[in-house]
């Protein structure tokens, strides 16, 4: 399936579907509207109907919460950042009177994880496998966090009932959601809670209507395709923060062991201590968030950073503003990053080559060393996951989503990760096209000449295209890419120019559709900011749970599907009686 044809068809699809009813019109007074009217009359009308609603601002103030398995973001609506981000750590579950975290040597003692327990379990509020989740414990932890947010950071008179917008992942298990809602209602005296989906919030916070949201969280990476503010597809992978920090811990442990073998004088304890003295979750995560990074695609292929610490820095070096001639000396000039580990016994400072710090991302998220057929469906590497979810989308949505890959989640802050994912996906698309069959085996000889590899004209890598591309220019681009091979089947042939369509396209504001679908990443401000934007625009949510209703019926009345209506007027049709 070559690209140009669904490209050309795209604008019509979006225009046909443009049945929009705006949930709440913000202001009736629009000075630039072409409709003729007597100015005096208009003014009186707007003062009568327009302004009073905005003067009661304080009353319909609304709290925004965004709940993940590790952090709770909380703040006010239409603010750009949450007032507080609260982590669910093991420090939160101490007894009253346990003051050991203030002890001066607290940070020099390695807090040991429980052995039979999973990595990082103590830092999680919940996990998606609800079989082992202690819901009462989750409720208590969440309640404490919400109370802390309200008393320390919101500082409002708690008497007045308020509205709450809660952004959660749309596949949050129902017991967890019930617990979260119950806690919120109980603690915060909320009159109603509006549920939003994090992926849609991320899309809103990116300024888009459709996107492929790649949420690289703690437990799993969720790739959600959003089309016109609706979730249309979802895929998951366990390659996310947890695996990444585990890999980082392995790297650190290896370095520690190597250091001990190198200078055995420092090897204080017995050999049994080695198994004991392992890097804790906090340390691994600290190293990961501080100095972890992700190399770009070319250098990762050229010098897999696993193998040696001597590999060159790759393409970054070319762009760096080091003196000329240093390129030859890159092998030497890789700096050693010294990482203090005060909790190790004895306290040591590791000196790790900078390149080595990018290897966890390679192994954990991209699984370079593992052949693809060895991977299960649930642990696909990120680029494969993105590619597969794009592949499973209908072509017109795929064209939209391909150019709007939104990476969010905590791990996406890793420097270099975003561009790496996008360039990997671009390469996959270029190499394989949109063919779900990876290998035709013996049939491949008999197949007709596959022309998709002939014109990689549109997929020019991760280079961001000119945003303000005029329709005319992209049209010529299309034309250039069309005229390549001789035997084009009819389905692949370019659409004949439709004057009506061209006119529509010319008139429509959304000339985004006329862009060639390059693989492109879009930054987002995150789910919390999206929810804050949605609340700030007074968009009415589809799933709004009243307190009394919740107390009476639980989640039964609300259906299981979240979305937002109003912005495009398109949400809410999926609300099935669950």
């Amino acid at each position: 399936m070559a690209t140009p044809d669904y490209l050309a068809r795209k604008p019509s699809a979006s225009l046909i579907r443009s049945s929009i009813s705006y949930g709440q019109s913000s202001k009736p007074a629009a000075g630039h509207s072409p409709s003729p009217s007597t100015p005096l009359f208009k003014r009186s009308l707007s003062s009568q109907f327009g302004s009073p609603s905005s003067s009661f601002r304080a009353e319909d103030d609304c709290f925004i919460y965004s709940l993940g398995s590790r952090f709770l973001h909380a703040g006010f609506m239409s603010e750009s950042r949450p007032r507080c981000i609260l982590a669910f750590g093991p420090g939160e579950s101490r007894r009253a009177g346990d003051y050991r975290q203030w002890a001066p040597d607290f940070h020099t003692i390695r807090r040991r994880g429980v052995r039979g327990e999973d990595w990082g379990r103590a830092h999680e509020l919940y996990r998606l496998d609800v079989r082992d989740v202690d819901l009462g414990l989750m409720q208590d932890k969440l309640e404490r966090a919400i109370r802390q947010a309200q008393t320390e950071y919101f500082m409002v008179d708690s008497a007045r009932p308020r509205k709450i917008m809660l952004a959660v992942s749309s596949a949050l298990p129902r017991p967890l959601l019930l617990t979260a809602l119950g806690t919120l209602f109980q603690v915060s005296h909320a009159s109603s809670i509006t549920l939003l989906s994090t992926s849609i919030c991320s899309v809103v916070a990116a300024g888009l209507r459709s996107a492929l949201v790649v949420d690289i969280g703690w437990a799993e990476t969720i790739v959600t395709a959003v089309y016109e503010y609706r979730e249309v597809g979802e895929r998951r992978s366990v390659r996310a923060g947890k695996v990444l920090s585990l890999e980082m811990a392995k790297v650190l442990n290896d370095e520690c062991a190597r250091r001990k073998t190198q200078n055995p004088v420092e090897r204080g304890g017995s050999s049994s201590e080695k198994a004991d003295d392992e890097v804790s979750v906090e340390e691994a995560e600290g190293v990961l968030t501080r100095v972890g990074w992700c190399q770009d695609r070319d250098s990762a292929r050229k010098h897999p950073s696993d193998t040696s610490s001597k590999s060159a820095a790759g393409a970054n070096e070319v762009q760096s503003n080091r003196p000329v001639g240093a390129v030859a000396a890159t092998e030497i000039s890789i700096p050693l990053i010294s990482i203090p580990l005060p909790a190790a016994t004895p306290p040591i400072t590791l000196r790790i080559p900078f390149n080595r710090l990018s290897s966890p991302a390679d192994t954990a998220l991209f699984a370079l060393s593992t052949p693809l057929h060895d991977l299960d469906d649930h642990d696909l590497p990120l680029h494969q996951l993105v590619y597969k979810s794009l592949l499973s989308l209908p072509p017109d949505i795929r064209a939209l989503c391909m150019a709007r890959i939104v990476l969010t989640g905590g791990v996406s802050q890793l420097p270099g990760l975003k561009s790496r994912v996008i360039s990997e996906v671009a390469t996959l698309v270029r190499e394989r096209g949109w063919d779900p069959v990876q290998s035709y085996g013996s049939v491949s000889m008999k197949l007709p000449h596959r022309h998709r590899s002939d014109h990689p004209a549109n997929e020019d890598g991760d280079e961001p295209p000119d945003i303000a591309q005029s329709p005319q220019r992209s049209a010529t681009l299309d034309a250039a890419s069309i005229s390549l091979p001789v035997p084009i089947p009819a389905s692949q042939q370019p659409q004949e120019p439709d004057p009506v369509l061209a006119k529509l396209r010319h008139h429509s504001h959304s000339n985004a559709d006329s862009r060639a679908p390059t693989t492109r990443g879009v930054e987002t401000l995150g789910a919390w900011a999206g929810a804050s934007l949605i609340a700030g625009l007074r968009v009415k949510g589809v799933v709004e749970i009243e307190k009394d209703d919740f107390a009476k019926n639980g989640l039964r009345g609300t259906g299981g599907v979240f979305g937002i209506g109003g912005v495009g007027g398109v949400g809410g049709k999926r609300g099935s009686a669950g």
């Binding site: 007032r83 040991r112 300024g207």
Partner: protein, 534 residues
């Protein structure tokens, strides 16, 4: 409700908090590195002139914030101030590196220009020029996005404005409108119809002015380069990032901003179920006194657990005051190394804070759930504790009660068949060990289980705390070797009906004739015993 700044003790009214946020808006800032309070220093100030009064120092000249603990200054992030006051205002106008924050008006104007209908976005040459060098921060992006959405929604509602706004006046129907339009001689009906067609869907943001921000590999590469050059010390840790929202995405220490002090307030505590106020401070800022203070400590018995040892001297000294047994016994008893699977006897003392005598019933679970499973036997689970009367009462009645006690213990000694023998004293089941004015001690026998995974046969599936073998790290470990015993305490007492309004105590029955109310209190608690030797 009033908030105050703990640093400058300035009271902030509720309205200000609502409008300006939960941080001190004066000069109170904390160091983003080490959280010590920052002080305002003059840049050209001589060291000696710190001692001279403020007026003597030169009034002009740039100022900066400095941390007296770790020597971090705002000069590190390239910020200095013209005036020594109104730091918040000046800080909000400068970005890190001394760049001036463009006032919100300018992008607004730009945006309005770009978003006006007839200009296609191709006309925007300026923004792509500026954006690559300086990626917009998230605040800018957010305000751009918010403005964009508002604009879009407003525009869209503008097109069907006639349908929405004018319906109340009967202008909604096309024929009416056409009539009126003809009257005014404005547009024709067809033109009007055209304007009332379905609104186009709200489009997406298309450039930085509208909040779109593309992933750029160059900026990420720049970040990596910076990371490589600055190393570990140039980066921020999680606490520094989470201290204030503006530091949330500060990766390097150069990106940190001073942390404005968080305003606390004096909060009242209410009962969770009946909303009764339990604690309330005086509203005056400088006073630390309570207006209302209902502590559970004043209503439930204080429970202490001490090791009972073969120190014979502990018995006679323990007779006078309840605190004395602890001082004598704990010196010899080693709580850090309890020997597993050996019965150890402990002295459980309940002290009654109430002015009425209480009757206590204790219970422990049959199967211990804690990880170093201790098997607990309370030798005397039901007993009375005297009222918390005046201290002098005991002194006055000392002779009788002393006799009583000695007699009782003599009885214990004589009967000594049921309990284990501890250095001549015998703890017997069903008997109180000793008793004072408002306290009673009973013997508890604890058989600590083995700590950790020493015996491989035991499996505790409920996320039980388990330590690795050879884990000598006691203090910081997962406390797997701490032996704690759950204890169910049930307290019954009779009190005057007048004291009914103490909302803590649950009451069950009332004997109306005598105006005496029988109350009952029951709760679970956990007693820490000590650490089991590994």
């Amino acid at each position: 409700m009033n908030w105050f700044c703990p640093n400058c003790l300035f009271e902030v009214p509720s309205s200000t908090v609502k409008s300006e946020g939960n941080r001190c808006t004066r000069n109170c800032y904390n160091c983003p590195i080490c959280t010590a309070p920052l002080s305002v220093n003059g840049l050209h100030q001589e060291p000696s002139s710190y001692l001279t009064p403020k007026d003597a120092a030169q009034p002009s000249g740039p100022y900066f914030l400095a941390c007296p603990y770790c020597n971090w200054t705002t000069l590190d992030i390239g910020i200095q101030f013209d005036k020594p006051h109104k730091i918040t205002e000046q800080l909000s106008r400068t970005k890190n590196g001394g760049r001036v924050v463009s006032s919100p008006r300018d992008p607004e104007k730009q945006r309005m220009g770009s978003l006006s209908r007839d200009t296609p976005p191709t006309k925007l040459q300026e923004p792509p020029d500026t954006s690559p060098q300086e990626p917009p921060d998230s605040d800018e992006l957010f305000s751009n996005l918010a403005a964009f959405y508002k604009n879009q929604l407003g525009e869209a509602s503008g097109t069907d404005q006639l349908g929405v706004g004018y319906t109340e006046y009967g202008y909604g129907s096309p024929s009416n409108l056409a009539r009126i339009m003809n009257m005014y001689g404005g547009l024709s009906y067809t033109a009007l119809k055209k304007s009332r067609k379905k609104p186009a869907p709200m489009r997406e943001a298309q450039d930085t002015n509208e909040g779109l921000h593309l992933v750029s590999s160059t900026s990420e590469a720049a970040t990596i380069r910076r990371l490589r050059d600055q190393g570990w010390d140039g980066t921020t840790n999680a606490e520094q990032r989470l201290a204030i929202p503006t530091n949330n995405d500060a990766r390097f220490t150069d990106d940190l901003r001073p942390v404005a002090t968080l305003l606390p307030t004096k909060r009242t505590k209410r009962c969770r179920t009946c909303r009764h106020i339990l604690a309330k401070l005086e509203s005056k800022l400088h006073s630390t006194r309570y207006k209302i203070r209902l502590l559970a400590l004043n209503y439930i018995p204080t429970i202490t657990l001490r090791g009972l040892l073969d120190v014979p001297s502990s018995i006679p000294t323990a007779l006078t005051l309840p605190s004395s047994p602890s001082t004598t016994t704990s010196a010899a008893f080693d709580y850090q190394t309890l020997s597993p699977t050996t019965p150890t006897q402990f002295l459980l003392t309940l002290r009654n804070p109430l002015f009425d005598p209480i009757r206590v019933t204790l219970a422990t679970p049959a199967t211990p759930s804690q990880r170093p499973a201790g098997k607990v036997t309370i030798l005397c689970p039901q007993f009375d504790v005297g009222a918390n009367t005046d201290v002098w009462d005991e002194a006055l009645t000392d002779s009788t009660s002393g006799k009583d006690k000695s007699g009782r213990q003599g009885g214990v000694k004589d009967a000594g068949s049921g309990g284990a023998s501890v250095g001549g004293e015998v703890a017997e089941a069903g008997k109180v060990w000793e008793r004072g004015r408002n306290w009673t001690s009973v013997i508890v026998e604890v058989v600590p289980g083995t700590a950790g995974s020493r015996d491989a046969g035991r499996e505790y599936s409920f996320g039980g705390e388990e330590v690795k073998p050879g884990d000598g790290d006691e203090e910081g470990g997962e406390d797997a070797d701490v032996l704690e015993i759950p204890l169910f305490v049930r307290v019954e007492y009779e009190t005057d009906a007048a004291a009914e309004d103490s909302g803590v105590v649950a009451k069950i029955g009332r004997e109306g004739v005598e105006k005496r109310v029988k109350r009952e209190l029951a709760y679970w608690c956990v007693l820490g015993v000590g650490r089991v030797a590994g």
